[in-house]
Structures are given as C-alpha cells and as structure tokens.
Symmetry: D3
Subunit: 264 residues, 6 copies
C-alpha cells in the first residue's frame, strides 16, 4: 500500500504542516497541493464541501505526493467511511467528547476485527494499492477533535482508545465551550490551560497532538510546544486576506511586497 508519509514524519520526530481546504473546487485543491504543505485536509464539516464535491478534490491532491486527509462532517459512520473509500489517508473527527464517542469514531475507520468499517475501497484501493484491505488498518490515521470542556475533562479516557492515533484541537469551539470569546489568543489562560492538559495527555498515551492555528507565529509556537500536526488558516482565509490586503494597498497608494513573474 502507498506509504502514509505523515507517519514517517512523526516517526522521525518531525511536525506535519497541514493545509486546510474549504473551497469546493478541485482546482484550488490541486493548487494548494503545490505550495509546500505536507498534507491537506478537505474540511467537509465547516468547509463548503459535500461528498460529491470532495471526491474530485481528493483526486486533485493525488496529482502530488501530498497526503490527503478529510475532516468528517460529524462523528457518524456514513461520512467517515465514504471519505476513506474515496482515498482519504486519515480522518479528523469533530466533537469527540467521550471514550464511547472515540470508540465509535475509531471503529468506523478500521476493518474487523478492530472496527466495523465496511469493505469496498473503490478509489482507495486504486490510489492506495492492491493490498489496501490488508494494510489500511495500520495506515489510515485517526484524529479525534478535542474541542469542548467536556472532552478536555475526559481527555485521558478518550486518548486511551485503542486505534486512536492523534488529537486535533479546535481552538474556536474550545474557547466557546470554555465561555471565552472565539478568535482570541491561544495563550488566554483558560484556553492555554486546556491545551496544555491535552498535550500532556497526548504525551502520556503516545498520541500525536494536532491543532488549528491562525498565524505563522502560533503555528511555530505550537510546534515548539510539541504539536506534531499544525494547520494554518485555510484556502478561504489565504485568498481573502491576501486579496483584500492588496486592494487596500492599491487604494492607499502603498506598494506591498509582491510576487514577481507572469500575471496569469
């Protein structure tokens, strides 16, 4: 089966720099796959992407060696299994708040006897290789999102779920759940405390810690704090921020640093 290079990076102690796709377009997906990310996650929860839009995006990422992941729309087998059959090499699952929910999630990603994933990797077998059914259970990566106060409370139980590979912190939902303003700094004390608890629990259970960040400084700081899977913003945010900054610069008559080369 095709090597899951995310596991290689982790085994060597490195951190995966992950891009985030919310635009329902195979072209923007292919474009993002050329910008240096180690992996790209198609967000079918908050991204504007349903299954029929996600499929050609998974193909578009596969034009490169970048690892394709997907955030499932919810902790339910139907969405998870369809994304895996379409070739996602890992699933980020939202709102995993208890060990029972973690088991349901992991089970949906694993063939029997480890789980209850149904066999039929129509595209995954083509993309992943002919022995997909034999190796998928050890290759496909499972990320449980820790993004509520309840999940933080239960984190040690959740992280002891067999077959769980990683967590993924969603700071916006976690902040709201903690009664904080969404979009605030990661080092807000209560948020920081929760995140530290998650990282510590990850280390104890041999689980990889992942997180969504909204600045390069946060991304770098999180890597320094032990996160080995770090996402920065999203395609939507890059496009909006870069283009609005340019328009403002032109209107102000200010020259901004900009790319050279052909304008197409």
């Amino acid at each position: 089966m095709r090597e899951n290079t995310i596991r290689n990076i982790w085994h060597s102690g490195g951190a995966v720099i992950n891009g985030w796709l919310t635009i329902p377009s195979p072209w923007s997906a292919e474009l993002m796959a050329h910008q240096g990310w180690d992996s790209l996650t198609i967000d079918t929860q908050h991204g504007l992407i349903g299954y029929d839009a996600a499929l050609p995006m998974l193909q578009a990422i596969s034009t490169t060696p970048v690892m394709p992941l997907a955030r499932a729309p919810w902790n339910e087998p139907v969405g998870i299994m369809k994304l895996l059959d379409a070739g996602a090499m890992g699933i980020i699952c939202p709102m995993v708040n208890s060990v029972k929910e973690a088991q349901a999630f992991v089970g949906a990603c694993r063939y029997a006897p480890l789980g209850y994933r149904s066999a039929g990797p129509t595209r995954a077998g083509l993309y992943g290789g002919s022995n997909y059914l034999q190796e998928a259970n050890t290759s496909v990566i499972t990320f449980a999102m820790i993004e509520t106060a309840q999940a933080v409370k239960n984190v040690d139980d959740i992280l002891s779920t067999p077959g769980l590979d990683a967590t993924y912190v969603g700071p916006t939902d976690l902040a709201i759940s903690l009664g904080l303003r969404p979009g605030g700094p990661l080092d807000e004390p209560r948020l920081d405390e929760a995140i530290q608890k998650i990282v510590k629990s990850c280390k104890q259970h041999g689980i990889i810690a992942g997180i969504h960040t909204s600045s390069t400084s946060d991304a770098i700081r999180c890597m320094e704090r032990g996160f080995q899977f770090v996402t920065l913003l999203s395609d939507t945010r890059f496009l909006a921020d870069a283009s609005s900054a340019a328009v403002r610069a032109i209107r102000a008559g200010h020259v901004t640093p900009s790319a050279a080369g052909t304008p197409y």
Copy 2:
C-alpha cells in the same frame, strides 16, 4: 436598468480596481466580491472556467454591488453573447488585432441597429432590470485587448471603432509578440513604448485604458500613467502566493504578519 457603476467611476475620473477570477467556483467568486474590488472579471479564456461554471459565479458576484465582467474565451459571438445573457456587465475580448476584429467584437455586444447581438437576456434581464433590452447597448462595456505587435500597430484604427469603450492590455502576450521574455517588467523599453502608444491613442479617441498587472507597485504606477481600469494578479495567484509564503515562513521558523481573528 441596474447602473453600471464602472461607468460612474470613469465619469468621475477615477480608476476601477478590478479582481480576476480563474478558479471555477462560485464560493471563491463570492469571497472575492467581499474584498474591496470595484469589479470582478471571470476569465473564461485562460481561467479554468467554461460557460457552465461561469454562470453560478456571476450569480455569486451579484450577491454584492461589485460589477461582474467576463473575459470571453475568444473573439467569437457565441461565447460573448452567452456571457452577456448570463449577466456580465461588460466583456473583455482577447486578441483584437484589427478594426475588422474590433467591429465583430463590438457588434456581438450590441443589439440592432448598432450590432448583431441576439435578444434573449434570460438572466441579464432579471439581474439588470426589466428595461434591459432598451438600455443594454449603452450600459454594457466593451474592452478590446491590445496584446500583439499587430494590434499596437493598428491601435488607432481599432480605437476608432464605434461602440468600443475601452482597451485592455495583456502584457504577457504583448511581450511575447514583441519578442520579449514573458513576465518581465512593464518598463522594459519596447514593452513600455508599446504601452505608451496605446495609452496615447486611448486619450485621443476618448477610450478608457485598462491593463493587467502583477504587483501593487505596477498597479499604482499604471493608475498614475492614466490607466482607469487596473487588474492585479488573480484569485489563483493570491492563493498560491499567500499560502506558499506562509508555509515557507513556518518551515523557516519566521513569524510573518498575519490576520487576527477566528481561523475558519
């Protein structure tokens, strides 16, 4: 009929700051429509966009007051008329190299007796208003691209075509046609000479000058030189440049200036 606000800006002596859409997605189109551009051009020539993809993008732009334009795939009536019927408020036509070609282009944008556009503004009538058939001839904007040595030579003839509103300089094709390296600076002497000739001819014929630029500095400089319609890069380029810069920054451990706020 809905006011074509591009004409208002021009009448007041201002310059239109135009965004450029090459991603075939109504979501990226709607997103771009919120970033401060005066108009957005759906590029159905070099953009990855056919008619069936362009239609919902025109709708997406219409969620805002931003003026929707389209670059036609080629100087042919079929593409031009379908984009107008779908609600484009102006057409940028590639490769207009002679007065005959200019007349063919303008005629496709005007109802009789000024041209040969066929009547059936299915969406344009809904978006533009019930008197669309009466007012479209004076509202819809025609841009002829001047992008070959031959076109520069013929520029005075081309710009005397009745019903032509504006030119649009394509520096990449023009540079290639002049035997220059594509993607070089706008002030390369031969390119600069050609552009100056176009601008001068525009002034003489009361035609608006437009241009595609690849940096904020070029955009500003072109506005200073009299261009009243200036495009900067494209959605594809903004997304690629901003995301690759961020990845490089993270890998280098360098913090870059970045947007605050929620990461979705």
Copy 3:
C-alpha cells in the same frame, strides 16, 4: 449581523409568505427570489437537493434581500449545521415528535452554552456579517415540524423547548399519520382538529405557527387563522401546473390569461 427580516415581520404581527424550492438549480432559485416571496426555503428533505446542490442556491437567493431558509434532510446535526454554515437564516426540521427530539434539533442550531453547534460559519460569516458568532443564536430561526399524531399529542411539551421559535405543519404527513388520505382538504375534521390544537399551543407558548399549503385560498385562510408563516406549493408544482394548463389550453383551442411582454 445581517438582519433576519422574518423576525421583523413577525414582530410587527405580519405573516411571512414563503416560497419552496425543490428544483436543484441556482437559476430557478434566483428566479424565485424575484417573485415577491418574503423568504425561500430550500427543501433538502423531499426536494431533489443534496448539500452540494444547496450551496449555490443559497448564494442565488442572496442576490436579493429575500431570507434564505432550509428544510434539513432529517433531525440530525450534520445536515442542520452544514446548511447553517452555508448561510441559511433558519432551519425547518422534519419529524420532531418529542421534546427530546426538539431539544436535539434546537441544540444543533445554537452555539454553546445554548446548544452544541460547532463554530465555523464559513459562508454564514461572510453573508451574515463579522459578528455572526455573537449574534447567530438570537437571529437563526428554528422551526420544528409537527407532522405526526404523536407530535400533536406532545405538542405542548415540544413547544416549551427553550430556543424553539416556530412550528411548521406538514399536512401530508400529518394526514397519513392520522389515517387520512394524503392531499385532502385542510378542513377535514380530524386534520382540522389537530391543526387547531397546534395553533392554540403556539399561542400559549409564544411560538410562531407555520404551515405548508397547496392553494392560495388555503394560504389566505391559514393566515386568517393565525399562521404567521405560510408556504404555497413549490417551484416544481408551479412549473408543472402552469405549463400543463397552458398545453391543455392550446390543445383545446382555449385562450388563457397569460403574461404580456417578451417571450424569453
């Protein structure tokens, strides 16, 4: 955040006249948005519309001030949350038969601490405004469908669910559940009795009453009886009924009243 004008109409004591979209097309959606409806509901339950088709329809409605709503495919968080993130300003939820189901539904529409909606309003934030996360809980409208005998029995409990704004009566399912012929008159005694009970309970709990009707006379009568949210037929039904009537008229040689103007 963008004003939810449905609430304004209700606050002034008026009734919302709602259109119903079942054709999976952004064009028919935009067209319907110009016909005078106060709101339009994209039916992702019985309409022929999945998420990927619903998204550009929400954009199409947003080209006008008409309020976009959606009927969720089922009382499940995944469908509800994705429609809200895509910009629906309210959700009509099918088959709410108990207070527990009502709570599950309402919770999916509300951010913590009022519910468990996950934060990531990718398009809703753009369409709704930058303070969407702060105001969505009081702006987004929740409609519970009362369409079974069981739901009628439990209606007082259901309507006491905190955060529930409105009910929506589905007469076809309700008739079937009551053992009646579907498609019969609203004043069939048992159906009428059930509807009266719902309206009465709405008044007691300060909940808006809504209903789907199949004739202008039913729509008007329901408004007179206190319904403040009334749907008439659907795009599919209007298109089928109007075109088949015209064909029959031509074949019979009978002239029918018809629209003047251009035939496109």
Copy 4:
C-alpha cells in the same frame, strides 16, 4: 432508428406543441417532459445552458417519448454536432440570414455526402438505435431561424436549401431588426407582414413553419395561420409568472384557481 414523431405529426398535417427549456436542470427538464408537450427544445443560445448542462437534460427528456430538440448556441458546427451526438433529434439554428449560412447549418447536421457532420453519435446511437448512422440524415430535423430583416428578404433563397426541413421565427429579434419595440404584438403591421411572407415562402418550398409565442392566444392563432411548430414561453417564464401571480393573490387576499392534491 427511433422514430422522430415530430415528422409523423407533420405528415398527418398536425402542429407540434413545443416546450422550451432554459433552466439548467435535468429535473425541470424531466418535469416538463410530463406536461403534455410533443417536443422539448433545450435552448443553449439564450437559455442558461452550456453543453455540460445540456447532456443530462437530454437524458431526462428521454425518460419519456417526448422528442428532444436543441437550439444551437450559434450557427457553428461545434455546438450543433455535439448536441446531435448527445441525442437531440433536431436543431434550431439562430440567425440564418443567407443561403450560404443555411447551407453551412444544414451541412453540419448531415453526414457525407449530404453534409460534413463528423461520425461519432456516442449517445445518439444508444438512444436512437444501432442504425443511426444510416438513418440520421433523414430523421434529424433542421430548423433555420428567420429573425432579421435580412433573412426575411432572403427567405426564398434560404428555404430552397436542400436538407432544410423547417423555419423558426424569433419574434423578438425580428422586431428589433425591423426597428420595432421588442415584446410587442405579433400583429403589429410590419412584423405581421414579415411573418406572412415567411409563411407564404414556407408553403411554396414545402418547408414547415415554426414560431415562438408568448401567449396561448398567439399560439392558437399561429396554428390557425399554418404554423406547424409552435412554442409557448419557457420553463423560466412559466415558473416566474405562476409564482408571482400566486404571491400577489395571497398578498391581495384574493383566491386564485389552483391545483388540487398533495403539495409536494
């Protein structure tokens, strides 16, 4: 090959009642195919429909015995041939203004030696039958649109083109070309005179006369005047007119005649 039932109706002296599709949706196409039309024309000129949208619409019509036709986007081989290969049983060609243009159009619809249509009826062979290549030349129907003053002037020449089966009058473009207000009555003297000339020429050359109408009364009157192919309005117009009339009726408190039955 599948019988082209339009020819049967004509042979028996009858008139074809044709529906018009401008909504890019296979569902609205299938729905229209159940409303009693003899044929349905997918309008890829002014309809909001490109090739990729037209294909599943042709399939949708084929769920019924209704004959599928298409209006080509323009008098060019590429659009015409692709629609025929996709299964259209006839082509309505816009803007045929001279015998040379008529020959170019007809030639694109006929295999050698009668024309220059390229062989590859990928779907047409499946839908039409295995002997499609042998019989298409005598089955596929060619309609030349007569919609300019120039075309009316040249009508006798145009109608003498071998292989041309029918004309199709476009009253809106014809009115504009004659210097009249578009959307006016068909019996406006100058328009009426042109139409009479076309009908007379059709009779002389054994060509079927067709026309687009905008009321049942016009449709009936045209049939009485000898038109054997009559279109009424379009899906877009039926949907807009019927729904806006209903909304106005509700707001006025007036009951309108309306369909009985289930409201889905």
Copy 5:
C-alpha cells in the same frame, strides 16, 4: 403506479440479474441500462456517488425499463428516504445485524402505519405514477444486507421483520467478519456454511435471497443454489478489467476476441 418488474420476475420464480453502478456519471448509468440487466443498483455506500450525483443517474436509468435500485450509504433514514423520493424502486441496506436494525431500515421505506417514511415523493411520484403514495408500500423492495457473523447468527430474527422483502449477501465484508481473506472463493467452507444458512433461512421466511458475485460462474452457481437476485461485479470492474486485458493483449501482440462495428 409503475410496475416493479423485479417482483414479477420473482413471482414467476426467476432470478433478477442486477448490474452495479459505482461510477458517478449519468452517461455510464444510461449505457449500463442498455446491456441487458434486469435492474441496476446505484451504490451510494462504496460507489463514488453522493446524493447529488445519484439523482441524474436515476433519471438516466429511467430512459429504459430497467428497474432502478440504490444501496443506501448506511442504515439511516436520511439517505434511504432521499433515494426513494428520487425514484429508487428498492433499497439495499448495508450492515443489518439485528432485528432492531432491520425494523429501523424497513420502517424508513414504508409510510405510516407500516413505517415512518415521510411523504414527499417529488420525483418518485412523477416516475412512479400519481398513486405512488397509495402503492409504494407494496411496490418498493427492501433488501437487508447480511454481511457480518453477527447478522448470520441473527438471521432468523432479522428475516422475520415484517415488510422485509429480501436479503443481500456481501461476501467481502462477510469473509472479513468471519476472519477470512477478503476476495476468496465463495465455497470456502466457513463462508459457504454462512451463505447456506442465509439461503435456508430465506426459504423458511419467504424472503428472496440476493448476493454480490465476482464471476459469471459464481453468478450462475448462486442462481442454481436458489439466489433470485444476483449482481455481477460493477461498472468500475468491467471497465478496468476489459481495458487492461486489451492493453496487455496489444503489448503481447496477441489478438483477443473483440467487438465488431464502429469504433465510437
């Protein structure tokens, strides 16, 4: 209502030869509908097909008398009901492991009082006929997949579920569940034993036995053993196997038996 011809074949003691669709394309669906299958199943579980892709495929099958079925993505009401409303004449439901799960599945396919299917057969009513609501409960076919050791154990209970029409054996999942290598022969003793138990239970309960096979010999053998619903491979497998065999033959210089006729 349109006759469900699958029931006719069964009533006459015959076996239904079923094709399997995993390519998300209405064209490949229409093509398959012309190859001699009695029914075609759109696989929305392991096929690369979400709801928005399945809809035009159901239309494409309806261009022929072949019966359209669908495999639901999972045993959940939302997917099942939407496929039925879109015109599927039967549902194959994955992973039915207990009588409770069987009841949930069957209930989603039946209107009250037999189940809890919600009424709104938008396309099913058009395709199936105007009395669809009255007759669907006895026409629509329910297939429960027996594909785990647990399901085999519970098979007698499962098959006693009122309203269940048929089983469908998924040999790959069943083999995995039994601890066998997926893709092995059907006569592997443990797999064979499980299958025999299912067939025997079917006979006892008057339930039709169905199975997925991967060779014509298996298909024939299963029909001889009493299976009355037999699927062979899938569109994806036919395309891959036939084309790779041809390429190998050309490279080897070996002539293979091949179809005559035109190469389009």
Copy 6:
C-alpha cells in the same frame, strides 16, 4: 517542463498505445489511467464531454504518469487553447482537410512567433512546470486528423505544415467520405489504399502516423504497418461490450473467463 513521454517513445521507435475517454467522469478517467495505456485522450468532439467536464478529467489522469491528450471539439482556437491551458500535452484536431486548416490548427497550439496561442497556461504551468511558456512549443504534440477524401488528396500538403507532429486517421469518417459503409474492415480496398497513402506520406515528411482501431488485431496490425500511435475503442465501448457479454453469458448459463479478486 515535465517531459512529454510520448515523444520519448517515438524517439526510441516505439508505438504509443492510447486509451480514449468519452465518459464525462473524473473517476472513469483515473481508473483508465491505471490500466496500462501510455496516453489517454479526452474526446471533447464525439465524447460526451464539454470543457467544464474535461478539466477534472485532466486532473484525474495527472494522478499517474500517463500522458494526457485531448481531441478538440473542432478546428477552432477557443477549444484548442482552453484544453492546452488546462494541461493537455497534445491535441488531436478533427477534420483537417487542407494546408490552410492545418496551419490554423498548428498556430493555435504554438506561442508566437510560431503561432498565435495566447499565453496564460493556468493549469498547464502548474502541471507542466515553471518554464512551460519557454518549452511548450516543442513539447505539446499536434495531431491533424485525416478523415476525408479531400484530406487524403491533400495529405502531402497538409503534412508539410511546419509544427505539425502527427496525423490521426479516423476510419469511420474516412469510410463515409469514401462512400463506404462505416464500421467496415480496415482492409477494405479503397479504405486500405487511402490509409497506405497517409502512412507513406507520413514517412516522407517525418510525421508520426496515428489511427483509431476497434479490435486488438487491428491495433497490432496497424503497429506492424508503421503506426506509432494506436487507439483501441473507448471507455464507453469497453464498458458496454464487457458488461453485455457478461449478462449474455449468465443468461445462457455459460461461464466466461473473468477476473479474480474482490468484487468491489
């Protein structure tokens, strides 16, 4: 720039075995790209594929090293240039009947000074590499279809067109043009004579000869006769032939040779 491996095969004296795509689906395209073909041609002329459908198919092929080609819809710049910008590494152009038509075709594929292709390789630059503009003129392959009696007559002139790389014989159209039954054998004397003339002229002008075949035996024979680019059938034909043969075999009770392995 990415190497055009077709040129490598030719340079080594080998023949390219080319697959043919007519199903408008990125999944069937990706699947075909795994079956051993050297190149795959997306047929936008007779295939059921417009530009918006072709784009994700080009991406799907790019998940493998198989070379992506496209048949243009017609000898017109708009279709040719858009397919090249989307990443096609060569164009097969239909109906090239004269040297003038050959020059028009080749010119559309070459940047100045060799032709008039407009610069803007939005996807081609990403897929092909950053020096695409510099190298495309020598990498992109031009195939002129010789498929009429007129083209055979003019073949020596056509093949002397600078920048033309290859011919592609379309036997069906050529047979019709010669007054033969389409779909007959390649060795029918008049067809054979024409083909021999083409091959001979190719050798004289250093042009590669290509052809579409409908059996492995024809493919092999053509390679023996000097054709270095040979297509066999199409995805549509493989799917139809293989599945109908299997259904017939089951109905006849005959076992056919069939693929082993898992049935998904």
